[in-house]
Structure formats: structure tokens, C-alpha cells
Amino acid sequence: MELIRPGIFIDFMKYYKYAIALSLVVIAASLIWIFAKGFNYGIDFTGGTEVQVAFTDDIQTDDLRSAVAEAGFPNAVIQSIGIAGDHEFLIRTPTEGDTGYAAAKKIEDGLKGAYGKDKVDIRAVNMVGGAVSKELKNKGFMSLLIANGLLLIYIWFRFQFKYSIGAIVALVHDVIVTLGFFAFTGREISLTVIAALLTLIGFSLNDTVVIYDRIRENIKKTSGPYDLGNLISASLSQTLSRTILTSLTVFIVCVCLFLFGGSVIHDFAFAMIVGVISGVYSTVFIASPVVLAMPGMVQKK
């Protein structure tokens, strides 16, 4: 079985201007959402208490909000998590007043009073202090920077500097788009989401490296002058079926996690799904054109 006809040549580089325009629009939209709406940071990054509660019956968010307010937390943020059949919610309470288990106990008692004793299951309680959340935030963003930096150096070392610029531009693209989706959908940014971002950086680069590897190989094979744009398009075409296959398997797996993995890894899977799609796109339409657009060395390495 073959998805892509062998020997096919698609002149990807012919379209790269449109692609870059599209990317710029998406990135602009993402940034606007991020700055206008901001992130819905989880308690890992804001500090506070988070109570995860599951109900046996269908519960309306507004209804739950008033029940939680009656339990003594009028400022609590209520968020439905997981898929529809889970009946699971996150209740986030601010840092003042009762925190941690004490807050959880109050909420539990309040909800059991409102909905019935055996209908409510307190599944998890998380409390993160202010100092720790600041640390986690710093560490989270530092880790993204460090990972990007290390990968830049690695690509530089294995290929050429302009390749590493292309790769990093593609990575930043993927991260911004994914974060934009998080801002857009109001999903919570937690430690697990940062983990997903790092993973998709690794994965997206994985794609890029395979194509760069092919470009390098094709340059080696060529004798005499050549058109880099054509050569890149040829390399992309040759690896296209692999790019699609691998992304597809990872995509399938992430969708499975999204659908069946439960509420805790729901957002993780969501980030991966967005990232995988963006990753394939950026590999083909961002990472490679940037190499082409960079002035300088066209000669063999």
C-alpha cells in the first residue's frame, strides 16, 4: 500500500510565500488571543487550591458554581474537564482564606449537602504555595528556552547555522500556535501542558531533521551547480510519505489519549494534537523555506 505515489515531485517552494503569509496570519491571531485574553494558568503557575471533583450525574456548571459559593467560596473558578460523560470539574479557589485540604473539606461537605452524599467524589486536591508557583513558572519557561537553545546548537552542529535558524523558527511557530489555541479555548496551562510543549518541540524537530538530512544527502549527491529551491522541494517530496505516516501514527495515538486517557491527560493530548498538526505544516512550509530564504552558503558542506 502506498499513500503517496512514488517519484512524485511537488514544488513546495513555489507556494512558500503563501504558506508564510498564512503562518503570519495564524501567528498574529494567536498572539492577539494570547495578549487580549491571556492564559488560563492552572494553580501550578498561579498558586492556590484546586479540587477535582466527579459527580455520578450530569451537573450544570452554573449550578455547581452557586453550590460552591454557598460552601464559602464565591470567588472560585469552576471548569468542566475531561469529556462530556465524565461529569468532572475543577474547582479553583483563590489563595486567601482556607487552602488545601481544609478548603477541600469545606467544598466536599457543601457539595455532599447539595447533591447527596454518594453522588460526589473528591478525586484530587492540589495546593501550591505562592513561592513554589513562581518557581514553577520560571522553571517552565526557562525549560522551553533551554530546550530551544540546546536544539539550536545541536542542529547547528549537525547541519549548518541557517538550518538551525529554520528549525528554531519552525519550533517557535509551533509553540506559539499551540499556546494560541490554549488561549483561544481557555484551556488550562499546567505543568503537563509545558511537558507537552517540550515533547512537541522534540517531535516537530524530529520531522525537520529527517528532511534536512535528506536535503544534505541530495546536496552531496549533486555534482555541479543546482537550484536549492528545487532540491528542497525534491527532498520534501521524497520524504513526504514518511512525514505523513509518522505524523499520522503520532496523531492517532494522541487522539486516543484525548478520547480515552481521562481528564488528567486531556489537555496534554490536546496540546500534542495541535502541535503535531502544526509541526507537520511548519516542517514543510516553514523550516525549509527559511533555509532557502537565508542568504549565504549554498555550497556543499
Partner: protein
Amino acid sequence: MDKFKLKGLLILAVLIVGIVLAAPSFFGKGELPEGYPGWKQKIKLGLDLQGGMHLVLQVVTEKAVESRMASVLSELRGQMINERIHYSKAVVDTPMTLKISLRVPDEYEKLERLVLDTHQYLKETNREKGTDGSLVLTYRISDKEAKNIRDQAVEQALETIRNRVDQYGVSEPSIIPQGADRIVLQLPGVTDPERAKKIIGKTALLEFKLVDEEASVTDAASGNVPAGSYIAYMKDGNQPVILKQQAPLTGAFLEDARVKIDQYNEPYLSIAFNREGGRIFERVTSENVGKRLAILLDGKVYSTPVIRDAISGGKAVIEGRFTMEEAKDLAVVLRAGSLPAPVTVLEERTVGPTLGQDSIRKGIIASLVGSLLVVFFMLIYYKLSGLIADLALTFNMILMIGTMSALGWVLTLPGIAGFVLTIGMAIDANVLVFERIREELRLGRTPKMAVEMGYKNAFSAIFDSNITTIIAAVVLIQFGTGPVRGFAVTLCIGLVWSMFTALVLCRWIQEWVVTYKNTDHVSI
């Protein structure tokens, strides 16, 4: 034996070791059957999968320094009286400094010698004339000594908390220091986190102090507290009591604490001092017959019994209208000893047992569905080669589980996600190779040649692309905590093994097929 066969045997050996190491984990939660041979350790589950409590505590080491300064000061006061150095004021100014006002400035040299001889770690940082003509001296504890006190406080807190957790009865707790002043606790299976937290976090400083019978509470309330005394409050009702500042006896001299029931069916604590404590107790009680002795816990007065007689034998009781649970927990805490400094909770995370179970179940379902889809897909797309890749994938999983259980690494819920993700990514190596082989076949190469070239040409792409993901994962291991780190670890192990299964195992099988089966085509 030729090289090819030797290689096959080596691969087989690795796989067998992997199977042996991974096998116990496949029995799930159940016990291994009677007489199960070989490796018995199962893969360890993280708190998020088995349920339990994760606490990050910070030892307020500043307080340990401060209380040390207080005891240095009280020693110094005694020394100054002995040496006839007349001071008008001697206080702990900031946690790290003492302030002493000398009524007779000429006695400065005497004090200087005294400090130099007996308290070398105090350094004079300021000397000035006070308003009343006295000489005001500021002494600061040296940074080295302060650091020692801090380190000791953390070490002692760690020890005390370990004792308390042992007494409370948690199986397989993990209690480790982190950074300069933090302690991370992992307590699997704790069902009453609030209670556990109270037991662990209570300072539990037990003190015995004499009531200042000469002072009057009304005088004290208007701010007229005699020197060397202070106002404390009762645990119930908050009535004020005037106490002497000095505590002749503390929980440090305690040997045992038990819950007893009195004739009204109320629980109380019966405590026993060690030998030295017993002697001090006897001396204090014999010198103060008729006076009241206050029993304080963490600064609150629990009771103020009148001393009727000298008490020998080193036994005492603490009453305080406890509930049975309070009394039991207090006994645990007192037996384990007090914390050298208070602790604050920086982070608390609890996962209930239902969520843990649910997560395991859902994680397994997601993994199974995901991997079956990938396996099925590979089979359809690459036929026999796909089957070989599927076999490699299966062994990849087994080797991952085996490695984690052998090294005692913890499987967390994001770790399960890491497993599933590895399935998706590991297949990439196979896809790269197979696409190459197809290309080579299209160029008209023989099956044997195509397989060989396929593996050879795909190597650099596979290696580079895996390294990039591993770099990202290693950064994550460095920064991540708990579950997230579990994810990164799983991903790393998975990728490393995927290179083995895809590049070594698959290659060997495919080479065997094209070499020994004399096929004229590759099923790909």
C-alpha cells in the same frame, strides 16, 4: 558460529532479560503466584496512579537560628551576672543579632573577653552610646555558625518527620530533602491527608514553665510584666497566665508518651522523662512546692497543675480535653520528638484512590487502542515488514517496562502517556527504514541489497531525529517534578529502546528473511 548468528544470540539474550524483568508487572495488582521464579519486582506506580499524598515542606530555619540566639542570650545573661558585668538590657534584636546595653561603659572590655572566650561565633557589629549614657553593643552570629544551625535544623526536622511517618504507619513512604531547606514527602495510600499533615507539620515543642505567682494578670494586661516573665494564654478559653520565661524542662527530655483514660472516660497523655529529665523534674518540683507548673505545647498552655510534692520517678500527665484522635496523634508526635523549627507547607497534592484506579484503567485503554491502531496500520501498509515492526514495537514495550522495574523508576499517569507516545514515535524509525527500502527496490536493487542500503541510509536521520526528542526530554527531566518527570523518563527510555528494536532487532530479522529465505522480493 558466524557473526550473524552471534548477533542473533545477543539480541535474543537482551530480549529474554527484558521479558524476565517485565514479567511480574503483567500480573497487575494481584500477588505473584506461589513459587514464582526469578525477578519479582513490579514496576513502581507513582502517587497519581496508586493514590496518596505529596507534600513539600519548608523548614523555617530562621526560627531555629532565633531560638538558638535566645538560648545563647540566656546563657550570656548568667555569665554577665557571674562576671559582675552590669547590663540594663539584653535582647534578641533580629533573629541573627543580640543587643546588650552596658550600664557601666568601662565594663566593655570584660564583656569583650567573655564573648571572645566562650562565644567565638558572635561578632560585634555595632557599638554606640545609648540615650541614658549606657553603651549599646550589637552582636551578630557568624554566617558560618548560622548556616550550621540551619543545616542541623533541616537534618533534625527530616529525622523527626521520618519518625512521625513511621509512627503514623505509612507503607513505603519517601521522605527526601530538596534544596537548602525543603523536605519532599510522598505518602502512598494516605486516606486522611488533613490529619497526616497535622501530625507531620506540628512543631510539638513541649515545655514546662513555672507560673509567676508574684505577678498579677491585671497588672500585666496594662503592660506591666515583670522582667523574665511574659503573658501566655490557655489553650481553651484564652485566659492569660503569667509565666517565667525560662523553661527548665522541655520535650527534649521525653522518653515516652502514651494515651490513658481517666475515671471520667476522658483521654489524657501519660509521659515519662528520661533519666536526666527525671532528675530535673524532681529538682524543679521539690524547689517549687505549692507553686503552679504550666505545661505548654507550641506556646499554648494546656494545664497549670499545682505542685503538691516533689515528684520523683520522672512521670507526668498532660490533660487538655482531648478527643481520642487528638490524644493519639499528640502521643505520636511527642514520641517522635519536636521539630527544631516550624515548617510551612509549600505544596500539597493528593490523589484519591478512585482517581488513581480510574487513571490506570483509562491509561491502559488509551494505550491499547492507540497501539492496536498503529499495529494494524503497519500491518496493512507494510505487510510482512509491518509485522516485523509490530514485533519490534511489542518488544520495545516489554523492554521499557523491564528497564523501569529493574531500575525502580516510577510509572506515572503522564508516564503512561509517554508510553503511548513512544509507540507513535518509535514506529517512525521503522517507517524511515521501510520507505528507504522501497526506494532502493524501485531503483532495481536486489532484496538483500535494498534491505542493507535501506538501514544504512536511514540511520543518520533516525539517529538525529531521536537525539532531538531525547534532548527535549532530558531538559524536561531536569526541570520537571513528579508526574511530569515520570513522563520524560518514560519517553527517554522508550526512544533509546526504539533505536535498538528498530535498528538492531528489525534489521536482523529482515536480513535473516532476505538471506536465508531466498526470497526474490521483500514484503513491504
